[in-house]
Amino acid sequence: MEDSSAYIESGILELYVLGQLSAPEMLEVERRAAASPEIRQELEAIEIALERYALENAVEPSPNLFEALEAKLSPVHQTSFKIQPPAPVALSQRSNRPLQYALAACIALLVVSGIALINAHSRLNQAEEQIIALRTEKDRYASGMNVLKQTNAELQTVADMVDDPNWAIVPLGGTKTSPASKMMVYWNRKSQDVMLDKSRMKLPEHDQAHQYQLWAIVAGKPVDLGVFDMKTDSAQLLLRMKEVGKAEAFAVTLEKRGGSVNPTMENMVVFAGVSI
Protein backbone atom coordinates (compact mmCIF):
# COMPACT_ATOMS: atom_id res chain seq x y z
CA MET A 1 0.00 0.00 0.00
CA GLU A 2 3.06 2.18 0.42
CA ASP A 3 3.40 2.07 -3.30
CA SER A 4 -0.21 3.11 -3.85
CA SER A 5 -0.14 6.11 -1.55
CA ALA A 6 3.03 7.45 -3.19
CA TYR A 7 1.33 7.02 -6.53
CA ILE A 8 -1.73 8.86 -5.25
CA GLU A 9 0.42 11.63 -3.83
CA SER A 10 2.16 12.16 -7.17
CA GLY A 11 -0.97 13.89 -8.49
CA ILE A 12 -1.19 11.64 -11.56
CA LEU A 13 -4.76 10.59 -10.71
CA GLU A 14 -5.94 14.19 -10.90
CA LEU A 15 -4.27 14.53 -14.28
CA TYR A 16 -5.98 11.32 -15.37
CA VAL A 17 -9.42 12.67 -14.43
CA LEU A 18 -8.63 15.99 -16.14
CA GLY A 19 -7.79 14.13 -19.35
CA GLN A 20 -4.19 15.28 -19.19
CA LEU A 21 -2.39 12.00 -19.71
CA SER A 22 -1.03 10.26 -22.78
CA ALA A 23 -2.51 6.92 -23.80
CA PRO A 24 0.28 4.81 -22.22
CA GLU A 25 0.06 6.82 -18.99
CA MET A 26 -3.69 6.32 -18.94
CA LEU A 27 -3.28 2.58 -19.39
CA GLU A 28 -0.86 2.57 -16.49
CA VAL A 29 -3.36 4.39 -14.25
CA GLU A 30 -6.12 2.02 -15.32
CA ARG A 31 -3.93 -0.98 -14.66
CA ARG A 32 -3.06 0.25 -11.18
CA ALA A 33 -6.63 1.21 -10.43
CA ALA A 34 -7.79 -2.26 -11.36
CA ALA A 35 -5.25 -3.70 -8.93
CA SER A 36 -5.74 -1.31 -6.05
CA PRO A 37 -9.06 -0.47 -4.37
CA GLU A 38 -7.30 2.45 -2.70
CA ILE A 39 -6.47 4.01 -6.05
CA ARG A 40 -9.98 3.34 -7.33
CA GLN A 41 -11.43 5.07 -4.31
CA GLU A 42 -9.14 8.05 -4.72
CA LEU A 43 -9.99 8.34 -8.39
CA GLU A 44 -13.68 8.31 -7.64
CA ALA A 45 -13.26 10.97 -4.96
CA ILE A 46 -11.47 13.22 -7.44
CA GLU A 47 -14.11 12.61 -10.06
CA ILE A 48 -16.92 13.36 -7.65
CA ALA A 49 -15.19 16.56 -6.50
CA LEU A 50 -14.90 17.86 -10.04
CA GLU A 51 -18.41 16.69 -10.83
CA ARG A 52 -19.86 18.52 -7.86
CA TYR A 53 -17.77 21.50 -8.67
CA ALA A 54 -19.27 21.53 -12.17
CA LEU A 55 -22.77 21.05 -10.78
CA GLU A 56 -22.23 23.96 -8.40
CA ASN A 57 -21.27 26.13 -11.35
CA ALA A 58 -24.06 24.91 -13.60
CA VAL A 59 -25.73 27.34 -15.99
CA GLU A 60 -29.25 26.51 -17.07
CA PRO A 61 -29.48 26.24 -20.87
CA SER A 62 -32.13 28.11 -22.85
CA PRO A 63 -35.53 26.42 -22.82
CA ASN A 64 -36.19 24.17 -25.80
CA LEU A 65 -32.49 23.60 -26.36
CA PHE A 66 -33.07 19.91 -25.75
CA GLU A 67 -35.83 19.80 -28.35
CA ALA A 68 -33.39 21.24 -30.89
CA LEU A 69 -30.83 18.67 -29.82
CA GLU A 70 -33.31 15.83 -29.86
CA ALA A 71 -34.14 16.55 -33.46
CA LYS A 72 -30.54 15.79 -34.29
CA LEU A 73 -30.46 12.47 -32.47
CA SER A 74 -31.35 9.16 -33.99
CA PRO A 75 -33.27 7.05 -31.54
CA VAL A 76 -33.03 3.34 -32.00
CA HIS A 77 -35.28 2.43 -29.12
CA GLN A 78 -37.74 4.38 -27.13
CA THR A 79 -39.14 3.39 -23.81
CA SER A 80 -42.77 3.86 -22.94
CA PHE A 81 -41.77 7.25 -21.66
CA LYS A 82 -42.58 9.21 -24.74
CA ILE A 83 -40.64 12.41 -24.91
CA GLN A 84 -41.12 13.64 -28.41
CA PRO A 85 -41.78 11.93 -31.67
CA PRO A 86 -38.49 11.74 -33.51
CA ALA A 87 -38.50 14.56 -35.96
CA PRO A 88 -37.23 13.66 -39.39
CA VAL A 89 -34.72 16.42 -39.67
CA ALA A 90 -32.11 16.52 -42.37
CA LEU A 91 -29.09 17.20 -40.17
CA SER A 92 -29.72 14.33 -37.81
CA GLN A 93 -27.39 11.43 -37.34
CA ARG A 94 -30.14 9.27 -38.64
CA SER A 95 -30.08 10.89 -42.02
CA ASN A 96 -26.40 10.15 -42.24
CA ARG A 97 -26.87 6.62 -43.46
CA PRO A 98 -29.42 7.41 -46.16
CA LEU A 99 -27.12 10.30 -47.07
CA GLN A 100 -24.26 7.87 -47.47
CA TYR A 101 -26.43 5.63 -49.60
CA ALA A 102 -27.50 8.62 -51.61
CA LEU A 103 -23.89 9.64 -52.04
CA ALA A 104 -22.93 6.13 -53.11
CA ALA A 105 -25.87 6.09 -55.50
CA CYS A 106 -24.82 9.47 -56.88
CA ILE A 107 -21.28 8.27 -57.44
CA ALA A 108 -22.54 5.09 -59.08
CA LEU A 109 -24.86 7.13 -61.26
CA LEU A 110 -22.01 9.45 -62.15
CA VAL A 111 -19.83 6.51 -63.15
CA VAL A 112 -22.63 4.97 -65.19
CA SER A 113 -23.43 8.22 -66.94
CA GLY A 114 -19.73 8.77 -67.53
CA ILE A 115 -19.47 5.40 -69.21
CA ALA A 116 -22.66 6.04 -71.15
CA LEU A 117 -21.32 9.40 -72.25
CA ILE A 118 -18.03 7.91 -73.44
CA ASN A 119 -19.98 5.16 -75.17
CA ALA A 120 -22.33 7.63 -76.81
CA HIS A 121 -19.37 9.75 -77.83
CA SER A 122 -17.56 6.88 -79.51
CA ARG A 123 -20.77 5.79 -81.21
CA LEU A 124 -21.33 9.32 -82.37
CA ASN A 125 -17.83 9.32 -83.83
CA GLN A 126 -18.58 6.02 -85.53
CA ALA A 127 -21.81 7.43 -86.89
CA GLU A 128 -19.98 10.49 -88.19
CA GLU A 129 -17.43 8.30 -89.90
CA GLN A 130 -20.24 6.30 -91.42
CA ILE A 131 -21.94 9.45 -92.60
CA ILE A 132 -18.72 10.63 -94.23
CA ALA A 133 -18.22 7.22 -95.83
CA LEU A 134 -21.82 7.18 -97.06
CA ARG A 135 -21.51 10.69 -98.39
CA THR A 136 -18.34 9.75 -100.25
CA GLU A 137 -20.09 6.73 -101.63
CA LYS A 138 -23.09 8.80 -102.60
CA ASP A 139 -20.86 11.29 -104.37
CA ARG A 140 -19.20 8.46 -106.18
CA TYR A 141 -22.54 7.06 -107.24
CA ALA A 142 -23.71 10.51 -108.25
CA SER A 143 -20.62 11.06 -110.38
CA GLY A 144 -20.95 7.54 -111.70
CA MET A 145 -24.53 8.39 -112.49
CA ASN A 146 -23.43 11.52 -114.33
CA VAL A 147 -20.92 9.51 -116.30
CA LEU A 148 -23.61 7.02 -117.22
CA LYS A 149 -25.97 9.82 -118.19
CA GLN A 150 -23.30 11.44 -120.28
CA THR A 151 -22.31 8.13 -121.81
CA ASN A 152 -25.95 7.43 -122.48
CA ALA A 153 -26.40 10.84 -124.11
CA GLU A 154 -23.31 10.27 -126.19
CA LEU A 155 -24.47 6.80 -127.23
CA GLN A 156 -27.77 8.35 -128.13
CA THR A 157 -25.91 10.92 -130.25
CA VAL A 158 -24.03 8.14 -131.98
CA ALA A 159 -27.27 6.24 -132.49
CA ASP A 160 -28.95 9.35 -133.87
CA MET A 161 -26.09 9.86 -136.31
CA VAL A 162 -27.15 6.79 -138.23
CA ASP A 163 -30.54 8.32 -138.96
CA ASP A 164 -29.12 11.73 -139.75
CA PRO A 165 -27.78 11.89 -143.34
CA ASN A 166 -25.65 14.91 -142.46
CA TRP A 167 -23.41 12.80 -140.28
CA ALA A 168 -20.55 11.04 -141.99
CA ILE A 169 -18.94 8.16 -140.21
CA VAL A 170 -15.33 8.03 -141.28
CA PRO A 171 -13.29 5.01 -140.26
CA LEU A 172 -9.59 5.80 -140.29
CA GLY A 173 -7.19 2.98 -141.04
CA GLY A 174 -3.62 2.35 -139.99
CA THR A 175 -0.68 3.59 -142.01
CA LYS A 176 2.64 1.93 -142.75
CA THR A 177 4.00 3.45 -139.55
CA SER A 178 1.25 1.92 -137.48
CA PRO A 179 -0.69 -0.70 -139.43
CA ALA A 180 -2.77 -1.89 -136.50
CA SER A 181 -4.16 1.52 -135.65
CA LYS A 182 -7.71 2.48 -136.39
CA MET A 183 -10.08 5.17 -135.34
CA MET A 184 -13.56 6.53 -136.00
CA VAL A 185 -14.36 10.14 -136.82
CA TYR A 186 -17.93 11.45 -136.89
CA TRP A 187 -18.30 14.54 -139.00
CA ASN A 188 -21.43 16.54 -139.62
CA ARG A 189 -21.09 18.35 -142.85
CA LYS A 190 -23.96 20.65 -142.09
CA SER A 191 -23.20 21.64 -138.53
CA GLN A 192 -19.45 21.16 -139.12
CA ASP A 193 -19.17 19.15 -135.88
CA VAL A 194 -16.27 16.77 -135.63
CA MET A 195 -16.20 14.08 -132.99
CA LEU A 196 -13.91 11.19 -132.16
CA ASP A 197 -15.26 7.94 -130.82
CA LYS A 198 -12.94 6.90 -128.04
CA SER A 199 -14.55 3.52 -127.65
CA ARG A 200 -13.49 2.63 -131.12
CA MET A 201 -10.07 4.19 -131.00
CA LYS A 202 -7.02 1.96 -131.26
CA LEU A 203 -3.80 3.94 -131.43
CA PRO A 204 -0.32 3.24 -130.06
CA GLU A 205 0.39 4.47 -126.54
CA HIS A 206 2.29 7.73 -126.31
CA ASP A 207 4.35 9.43 -123.60
CA GLN A 208 3.56 12.59 -121.69
CA ALA A 209 5.61 14.77 -124.03
CA HIS A 210 3.43 13.92 -127.04
CA GLN A 211 -0.18 14.08 -128.13
CA TYR A 212 -2.11 12.99 -131.15
CA GLN A 213 -3.29 15.73 -133.49
CA LEU A 214 -6.28 15.42 -135.82
CA TRP A 215 -5.98 16.97 -139.20
CA ALA A 216 -8.49 17.60 -141.96
CA ILE A 217 -7.15 17.80 -145.45
CA VAL A 218 -8.90 20.71 -147.05
CA ALA A 219 -8.00 21.61 -150.64
CA GLY A 220 -4.87 19.48 -150.31
CA LYS A 221 -3.71 21.30 -147.20
CA PRO A 222 -3.74 20.01 -143.61
CA VAL A 223 -5.98 21.93 -141.23
CA ASP A 224 -5.54 21.49 -137.49
CA LEU A 225 -8.63 20.05 -135.75
CA GLY A 226 -7.13 19.86 -132.28
CA VAL A 227 -5.12 17.51 -130.12
CA PHE A 228 -6.18 14.59 -127.94
CA ASP A 229 -4.70 11.99 -125.64
CA MET A 230 -5.01 8.34 -126.12
CA LYS A 231 -5.55 7.87 -122.43
CA THR A 232 -7.99 10.12 -120.63
CA ASP A 233 -9.29 9.87 -117.13
CA SER A 234 -12.74 10.85 -118.16
CA ALA A 235 -15.10 8.15 -119.23
CA GLN A 236 -16.16 10.32 -122.09
CA LEU A 237 -17.01 8.40 -125.20
CA LEU A 238 -17.06 11.27 -127.67
CA LEU A 239 -14.34 13.87 -128.03
CA ARG A 240 -15.50 17.05 -129.67
CA MET A 241 -12.82 18.47 -131.98
CA LYS A 242 -12.59 21.73 -133.90
CA GLU A 243 -15.23 22.28 -136.54
CA VAL A 244 -14.60 21.92 -140.21
CA GLY A 245 -16.96 22.48 -143.14
CA LYS A 246 -15.11 20.76 -145.88
CA ALA A 247 -12.68 17.92 -145.75
CA GLU A 248 -11.20 15.56 -148.30
CA ALA A 249 -9.50 13.42 -145.77
CA PHE A 250 -8.79 13.01 -142.06
CA ALA A 251 -5.45 12.07 -140.57
CA VAL A 252 -3.91 11.73 -137.15
CA THR A 253 -0.24 12.35 -136.46
CA LEU A 254 1.75 12.08 -133.26
CA GLU A 255 3.02 15.52 -132.39
CA LYS A 256 4.68 17.21 -129.46
CA ARG A 257 2.29 18.03 -126.64
CA GLY A 258 0.06 20.95 -127.58
CA GLY A 259 0.20 20.18 -131.28
CA SER A 260 2.14 21.47 -134.28
CA VAL A 261 1.37 23.93 -137.03
CA ASN A 262 2.18 21.38 -139.72
CA PRO A 263 1.75 17.64 -139.40
CA THR A 264 4.82 15.46 -139.10
CA MET A 265 4.01 13.11 -141.92
CA GLU A 266 6.28 10.26 -140.84
CA ASN A 267 4.38 10.12 -137.56
CA MET A 268 1.00 9.67 -139.18
CA VAL A 269 -0.83 6.74 -137.57
CA VAL A 270 -4.24 6.71 -139.21
CA PHE A 271 -5.67 8.18 -142.38
CA ALA A 272 -8.87 8.08 -144.36
CA GLY A 273 -10.22 9.87 -147.32
CA VAL A 274 -13.75 11.06 -147.24
CA SER A 275 -16.08 9.97 -149.93
CA ILE A 276 -18.26 12.75 -151.11
Binding site: L15, A54, N57, K72
Partner: protein, 183 residues
Protein backbone atom coordinates in the same frame (compact mmCIF):
# COMPACT_ATOMS: atom_id res chain seq x y z
CA UNK B 1 -45.03 23.32 -25.25
CA UNK B 2 -45.15 21.77 -21.84
CA UNK B 3 -41.85 21.06 -20.22
CA UNK B 4 -41.79 17.53 -18.96
CA UNK B 5 -40.57 16.90 -15.46
CA UNK B 6 -36.83 16.47 -15.23
CA UNK B 7 -35.70 12.91 -15.46
CA UNK B 8 -33.18 11.33 -13.14
CA UNK B 9 -31.71 7.91 -13.49
CA UNK B 10 -29.03 6.05 -11.65
CA UNK B 11 -25.66 5.98 -13.36
CA UNK B 12 -26.06 2.25 -14.11
CA UNK B 13 -29.48 2.81 -15.66
CA UNK B 14 -28.11 5.72 -17.66
CA UNK B 15 -25.20 3.74 -19.01
CA UNK B 16 -27.46 0.84 -19.83
CA UNK B 17 -30.01 3.02 -21.63
CA UNK B 18 -27.24 4.83 -23.45
CA UNK B 19 -25.74 1.58 -24.69
CA UNK B 20 -29.17 0.65 -26.06
CA UNK B 21 -29.22 4.06 -27.72
CA UNK B 22 -32.45 4.81 -25.94
CA UNK B 23 -33.30 8.45 -26.24
CA UNK B 24 -34.50 8.51 -22.66
CA UNK B 25 -30.84 8.26 -21.67
CA UNK B 26 -30.18 11.52 -23.47
CA UNK B 27 -33.12 13.22 -21.84
CA UNK B 28 -31.90 12.09 -18.44
CA UNK B 29 -28.29 13.05 -19.10
CA UNK B 30 -29.39 16.43 -20.34
CA UNK B 31 -31.63 17.05 -17.35
CA UNK B 32 -29.02 15.89 -14.88
CA UNK B 33 -25.83 17.28 -16.38
CA UNK B 34 -26.71 19.65 -19.23
CA UNK B 35 -26.48 22.72 -17.02
CA UNK B 36 -23.24 21.55 -15.39
CA UNK B 37 -21.68 20.95 -18.78
CA UNK B 38 -22.92 24.29 -20.05
CA UNK B 39 -21.28 25.92 -17.02
CA UNK B 40 -17.95 24.35 -17.95
CA UNK B 41 -18.28 25.26 -21.64
CA UNK B 42 -19.42 28.80 -20.90
CA UNK B 43 -16.51 29.28 -18.55
CA UNK B 44 -14.17 28.35 -21.39
CA UNK B 45 -15.84 30.17 -24.28
CA UNK B 46 -17.34 33.18 -22.46
CA UNK B 47 -20.02 33.31 -25.10
CA UNK B 48 -23.55 32.10 -24.40
CA UNK B 49 -24.76 31.34 -27.91
CA UNK B 50 -21.57 29.55 -28.85
CA UNK B 51 -21.62 27.64 -25.56
CA UNK B 52 -25.14 26.36 -26.25
CA UNK B 53 -24.11 25.24 -29.73
CA UNK B 54 -21.18 23.43 -28.18
CA UNK B 55 -23.46 21.87 -25.59
CA UNK B 56 -25.57 20.40 -28.39
CA UNK B 57 -22.42 19.21 -30.08
CA UNK B 58 -21.29 17.63 -26.82
CA UNK B 59 -24.52 15.68 -26.47
CA UNK B 60 -24.39 14.58 -30.09
CA UNK B 61 -20.91 13.29 -29.50
CA UNK B 62 -22.01 11.54 -26.32
CA UNK B 63 -24.83 9.93 -28.28
CA UNK B 64 -22.65 8.85 -31.16
CA UNK B 65 -19.69 7.72 -29.09
CA UNK B 66 -21.68 6.10 -26.29
CA UNK B 67 -20.17 2.72 -27.09
CA UNK B 68 -16.72 4.19 -26.32
CA UNK B 69 -17.62 4.88 -22.71
CA UNK B 70 -16.09 2.33 -20.37
CA UNK B 71 -17.58 2.37 -16.90
CA UNK B 72 -14.55 0.61 -15.48
CA UNK B 73 -12.36 3.56 -16.39
CA UNK B 74 -14.28 6.29 -14.68
CA UNK B 75 -17.54 7.99 -13.99
CA UNK B 76 -19.91 8.91 -16.79
CA UNK B 77 -19.77 12.59 -15.92
CA UNK B 78 -15.97 12.67 -16.11
CA UNK B 79 -16.17 11.23 -19.60
CA UNK B 80 -18.86 13.71 -20.65
CA UNK B 81 -17.06 16.65 -19.08
CA UNK B 82 -13.86 15.84 -20.94
CA UNK B 83 -15.82 15.66 -24.20
CA UNK B 84 -17.36 19.06 -23.46
CA UNK B 85 -14.05 20.62 -22.45
CA UNK B 86 -12.21 19.27 -25.45
CA UNK B 87 -14.88 20.47 -27.86
CA UNK B 88 -14.90 23.93 -26.30
CA UNK B 89 -11.13 24.26 -26.23
CA UNK B 90 -10.82 22.96 -29.79
CA UNK B 91 -13.41 25.51 -30.84
CA UNK B 92 -11.50 28.33 -29.21
CA UNK B 93 -8.33 27.27 -30.93
CA UNK B 94 -9.98 26.71 -34.29
CA UNK B 95 -9.35 29.15 -37.11
CA UNK B 96 -12.96 30.03 -37.80
CA UNK B 97 -13.51 31.04 -34.21
CA UNK B 98 -10.44 33.24 -34.17
CA UNK B 99 -11.58 34.76 -37.44
CA UNK B 100 -14.90 35.62 -35.91
CA UNK B 101 -13.01 37.88 -33.59
CA UNK B 102 -15.09 36.83 -30.64
CA UNK B 103 -11.96 35.82 -28.94
CA UNK B 104 -9.39 38.52 -29.32
CA UNK B 105 -6.41 36.35 -28.71
CA UNK B 106 -6.82 33.35 -26.55
CA UNK B 107 -3.14 32.53 -26.53
CA UNK B 108 -2.18 35.93 -25.24
CA UNK B 109 -5.01 35.90 -22.79
CA UNK B 110 -3.87 32.62 -21.44
CA UNK B 111 -0.20 33.47 -21.44
CA UNK B 112 -0.74 36.60 -19.44
CA UNK B 113 -2.90 34.76 -16.98
CA UNK B 114 -4.43 37.78 -15.56
CA UNK B 115 -6.14 35.45 -13.26
CA UNK B 116 -7.85 37.92 -11.02
CA UNK B 117 -9.18 39.93 -13.89
CA UNK B 118 -10.41 36.78 -15.59
CA UNK B 119 -12.31 35.71 -12.56
CA UNK B 120 -13.92 39.08 -12.19
CA UNK B 121 -15.02 38.85 -15.79
CA UNK B 122 -16.40 35.38 -15.23
CA UNK B 123 -18.37 36.39 -12.23
CA UNK B 124 -19.69 39.44 -13.97
CA UNK B 125 -20.59 37.58 -17.10
CA UNK B 126 -21.97 34.45 -15.65
CA UNK B 127 -22.85 35.30 -12.10
CA UNK B 128 -21.17 32.11 -11.06
CA UNK B 129 -20.49 31.11 -7.58
CA UNK B 130 -16.91 30.31 -8.28
CA UNK B 131 -15.32 27.93 -5.92
CA UNK B 132 -11.95 28.18 -7.55
CA UNK B 133 -11.82 31.78 -6.43
CA UNK B 134 -12.06 30.50 -2.89
CA UNK B 135 -8.79 28.70 -3.37
CA UNK B 136 -5.38 30.15 -2.77
CA UNK B 137 -4.39 32.02 -5.92
CA UNK B 138 -1.42 29.77 -6.69
CA UNK B 139 -3.69 26.72 -6.58
CA UNK B 140 -6.54 28.39 -8.44
CA UNK B 141 -4.36 29.59 -11.31
CA UNK B 142 -2.98 26.13 -12.06
CA UNK B 143 -6.38 24.46 -11.95
CA UNK B 144 -7.81 27.27 -14.03
CA UNK B 145 -5.20 26.75 -16.73
CA UNK B 146 -5.61 23.02 -17.12
CA UNK B 147 -9.34 22.94 -16.49
CA UNK B 148 -10.58 25.89 -18.50
CA UNK B 149 -7.79 27.15 -20.71
CA UNK B 150 -6.81 23.95 -22.41
CA UNK B 151 -3.24 23.92 -21.13
CA UNK B 152 -1.52 20.63 -20.61
CA UNK B 153 0.13 20.45 -17.20
CA UNK B 154 3.48 20.55 -19.02
CA UNK B 155 2.53 23.78 -20.76
CA UNK B 156 1.21 25.21 -17.51
CA UNK B 157 4.54 24.45 -15.82
CA UNK B 158 6.39 26.25 -18.60
CA UNK B 159 4.02 29.23 -18.58
CA UNK B 160 4.24 29.60 -14.82
CA UNK B 161 7.94 28.83 -14.82
CA UNK B 162 7.46 26.11 -12.24
CA UNK B 163 8.84 22.56 -12.01
CA UNK B 164 6.43 19.96 -13.38
CA UNK B 165 6.22 18.26 -9.99
CA UNK B 166 5.08 21.51 -8.36
CA UNK B 167 2.34 21.93 -10.93
CA UNK B 168 1.15 18.38 -10.36
CA UNK B 169 1.14 18.93 -6.61
CA UNK B 170 -0.77 22.18 -6.94
CA UNK B 171 -3.41 20.56 -9.11
CA UNK B 172 -3.75 17.83 -6.53
CA UNK B 173 -3.96 20.29 -3.65
CA UNK B 174 -6.55 22.39 -5.47
CA UNK B 175 -8.75 19.37 -6.01
CA UNK B 176 -8.27 18.25 -2.42
CA UNK B 177 -9.41 21.71 -1.42
CA UNK B 178 -12.52 21.31 -3.56
CA UNK B 179 -13.18 17.93 -2.01
CA UNK B 180 -13.03 19.46 1.41
CA UNK B 181 -15.45 22.19 0.46
CA UNK B 182 -17.99 19.67 -0.69
CA UNK B 183 -17.71 17.45 2.34
Amino acid sequence: MTTPAKIKLSEEALVEALSRRDIIAMRALYDMYGAALLGVILRITQHTELAEDLLQETFLKIWNASDKYDATKGRLFTWMMNIARNLAIDKLRSKDFKNEGKNQDIENNVAVIDNQKKQIINIELLGLRDLVSGLKPELASVLEMVYYNGFTHVEAAEALNLPLGTVKTRIRLAIIELRKQFN
